[in-house]
């Protein structure tokens, strides 16, 4: 279509398509990313008016400083055993991710997703919540299950879609679900779980329960309508829910600017909904813990929902189907300013005198052996690639509570195929 011939005295309008600062071949330099000093952000009371949190939506709650000290009002002053537990969970997740990534590359399953660089967020959030609280996660919160003591073998059986998968091989690898552990079924349709978490929290309030819900979303999926629905319902009904956005800067190949991050922080989305908002260093275990604990206290005391942006970085590809060297510099994850969450907690533990290199080596060896043993056990029940068609009739079950005639007929037809 041609440009209008009238109004030629006006400037031609321009479409702004955001572009990340660096592409493959560029030398990434993130010195312009503002990282406030640890301990700088004020900590209002968890029962405060939501407006008191407005400055925190553009700030960054940080507790661990560059020297591994815990500083400032957000320091949760955790017992060293709690810290060691989170550290152990994070290391487990990283080793688990590496093993399963390799299993996929070996052809044992179709797909895998790591959370490298983001381990602190789920493991620390899980530690800050109660075991009875429920999570509505995305696909990068495997740390929740690890923290809650879900058997690694069961996670692997799900990844292999084998006989040990309690979901009968229905879901893509890593789309875990466990009712007992308060881990809602993961969906590949992004953002759907965000308003669902609000609904669960509303139900808890309707029944006068004391449990709360935590919904998870990525930076990219905040663009979905479900994000707006979640924020609106959470605000309208003052639902006892924590809504967490893991801003890892990348949605497959689209940088966070494509979801609107150039114009405002994700945390500041909370302001317009009248929801308390926090922007938190997602690579800082102590900051994550403190923020989730603050939001949980707020929700539990009928003071309403909190929206938290965890500022972090997706250190590896989106999934095993993705090659990030096609859209961002290889060195970018090294240039990212917030560091490795595991190393940062390790530094803190060492500074506390609670940890040393020897212990660290021993832990890594122990956990590697644990993960290897779990893998061996899971593989005894089969892997996706050597799956036969034994038990295939089960794929017709669970569409409804009772199988209707049309599905029963189709099952018969399927079982006769190739006869």
């Amino acid at each position: 279509m041609a440009r209008s011939e009238t109004r030629t005295n006006r400037p031609a309008l321009k479409l702004h398509v955001p572009e990340p600062p660096y592409r493959p071949g560029d030398t990434p330099d993130y010195s312009h990313v503002q990282v406030p000093a640890a301990g700088e952000a004020p900590r209002p009371d968890s029962a405060c008016d939501d407006k008191e949190t407005i400055p925190l939506t553009t700030h960054l709650v940080r507790v661990l400083d560059d020297d591994g000290r815990a500083v400032g009002p957000w320091d949760p002053k955790l017992d060293v055993e709690v810290l060691k537990k989170i550290y152990r969970d994070m290391v487990t997740v990283r080793i688990f991710d590496d093993r399963m990534y390799r299993a996929q590359r070996q052809g044992k399953t179709s797909f895998y997703m790591k959370c490298t660089g983001e381990e602190a967020i789920a493991t620390s959030a899980a530690a800050a919540m109660d075991a009875e609280d429920i999570h509505f996660p995305t696909y990068r919160q495997q740390g929740l299950l690890v923290s809650r003591g879900y058997p690694l073998v069961k996670m692997m059986c799900q990844i292999y879609s084998n006989a040990g998968d309690h979901m009968k091989g229905r879901q893509l690898p890593i789309m875990y679900s466990d009712k007992e552990k308060g881990f809602f079924s993961i969906s590949g349709n992004l953002a759907t779980q965000f308003p669902q978490a609000v609904g669960w929290a509303m139900a808890s309030a309707i029944k006068g329960d004391s449990r709360i819900a935590m919904g998870w979303i990525g930076d990219g999926a905040t663009a979905e309508g479900d994000f707006h629905a979640a924020m609106t319902f959470a605000s309208v009904y003052q639902a006892p829910v924590i809504l967490a956005c893991v801003n890892n800067q990348w949605a497959i190949s689209s940088f966070s600017g494509i979801a609107g991050a150039e114009q405002a922080t994700f945390a500041s989305r909370a302001v317009g909904y009248g929801i308390a908002g926090l922007r938190v260093d997602g690579n800082d275990v102590l900051a994550v813990y403190a923020a989730v604990r603050w939001a949980a206290e707020r929700a539990r005391s009928n003071n309403g929902p909190t929206f938290i942006e965890f500022f972090t970085y997706r250190a590896e590809g989106h999934s095993t189907s993705d090659d990030p060297t096609g859209y961002r510099p290889k060195e970018e994850s090294q240039a990212w300013p917030l560091g490795d969450p595991i190393l940062r907690l390790k530094q803190h533990l060492v500074r506390l005198g609670a940890w040393d290199e020897e212990q660290d080596k021993a832990l890594e060896e122990e956990l590697s052996a644990t993960v290897r043993a779990a893998q061996k056990e899971a593989e005894k029940l089969g892997v996706l690639s050597d799956q036969g068609d034994e038990g295939k009739e089960s794929m017709f079950e669970d569409v409804y509570a009772d199988m209707p005639w049309h599905i029963a007929e189709q099952r018969e037809a399927a079982l006769k195929e190739g006869e």
Binding site: I134, F136, H166, M167, K168, R170, Q171, M175, S177, D178, K179, F184, S185, S187, N189, T192, F194, P195, Q196, A197, V198, G199, W200, A201, M202, A203, S204, A205, I206, K207, A213, G225, D226, H228, A229, A230, T232, F233, V236, E397, D398, V399, Y400, A401, P404, W405, H406, I407
Partner: protein, 337 residues
């Protein structure tokens, strides 16, 4: 026995369900204090309190999504989408989440809920208040789809839907909320009090899902229909003086194939009547099933009477609506030797 119109019968079903089960919660746009734009949820907030009957933001995806969370908690949401035409923002939640939850988790999480929505035309509602989107839901594994055609069935089917372990899409024919419709829009509306099936028992009863009803037995042909069109088709058959067997499907999924098959094998002719557009409408599925199962009993090709494949118009509503003239033309074809 009390005589009710469909709105009163549906309202009564809500009350019976909510009295019987504290986990039933009702919400939707205008569904709380005011009782809904069609008044189906009237009085619920007064009787059951604000936490069990409340207004929702204008956000159909939010309504469906929060219902998912509530069902995951263990509640039984009975939600209203104000018009079927507004259901599309909720489609992702319904199709990707509600419908598939039992399957994707092998029964670990289930989604017992009812999503009610008034559908259909004949009320000068234009394209955004007249649609019949049932086949967008019958195509989705995991959903049950119900369409009542009278007050008695409306209450019994809604109670069965609330008690069902699976999610039910419950489409209410709003044209016949207050009285059945012959298809002659120039004639005065007959109230339900002067029509059949308006005596509605008090208290609890159910009409089972998955069971059609032969509303008129006959020998000349089988008419497969549901909702408003049960009445339009019946009037057309009477005017044509044809001994038709009229089957009110009541539930589209799961379909009562036995009743359909028995009837078509008996009559040897089949006419399908629905309001929804023709292409990929539920009539296409019915036609295929009848052809596959009753081919050697058929004496003429199956005929479909449907809305046209255009958006629902405002000004030419009665050209769009599959009324008596369209039914009679199809009847001639299906009755040809």
């Amino acid at each position: 026995m009390p005589v009710m119109n469909m709105i009163q019968a549906l309202n009564d079903a809500h009350k019976v369900a909510m009295r019987a089960d504290e986990d039933v919660v009702v919400f939707g746009e205008d569904a709380g204090y005011f009782g809904g734009v069609f008044r189906v949820t009237e009085g619920l907030q007064k009787e059951f309190g604000k936490s069990r009957a409340f207004d929702a933001p204008i956000s159909e995806n939010g309504i469906a999504a929060t219902a998912v969370g509530m069902a995951a908690y263990g509640l039984k949401p009975l939600i209203e989408i104000q018009f079927a035409d507004y259901i599309y923002p909720a489609y992702d939640q319904i199709v990707s989440e509600v419908a598939k939850m039992r399957y994707r988790t092998a029964g670990e999480w289930t989604m017992p809920m009812v999503i009610r929505s008034p559908y259909g035309g004949g009320i000068y509602g234009g394209q955004t208040h007249s649609q019949s989107p049932e086949s967008l839901f019958t195509h989705v594994a995991g959903l049950k789809v119900v369409v009542p055609s009278n007050p008695y069935d409306a209450k019994g089917l809604l109670l069965a839907a609330v008690e069902d372990p699976d999610p039910v899409i419950f489409f209410e024919p709003k044209r016949i909320y207050n009285g059945p419709f012959s298809g002659h829009h120039d004639q005065p509306v007959v109230p339900w009090s002067k029509a059949g099936n308006s005596e509605v028992p008090e208290g609890h009863y159910t009409v089972p899902l998955g069971k059609a009803k032969v509303v008129r037995e006959g020998e000349a042909l089988t008419v497969l229909t549901y909702g408003t069109m049960v009445h339009v088709a019946a009037a057309a058959m009477e005017e044509a003086d044809v001994d038709a067997e009229i089957v009110d499907l009541r539930t589209l999924v799961p379909l009562d194939i036995e009743t359909i098959e028995a009837s078509v094998k008996k009559t040897g002719r089949c006419l399908i009547v629905h309001e929804a557009p023709r292409t990929s409408g539920f009539g296409a599925e019915l036609s295929a099933l009848v052809t596959e199962r009753c081919f050697y009993h058929l004496e003429a090709p199956v005929e479909r009477v449907t809305g046209w494949d255009t958006p629902y118009p405002h000004a030419y509503e009665w050209t769009y609506f599959p009324g008596p003239a369209r039914i009679k033309n199809a009847l001639k074809k299906v009755m040809a030797d």
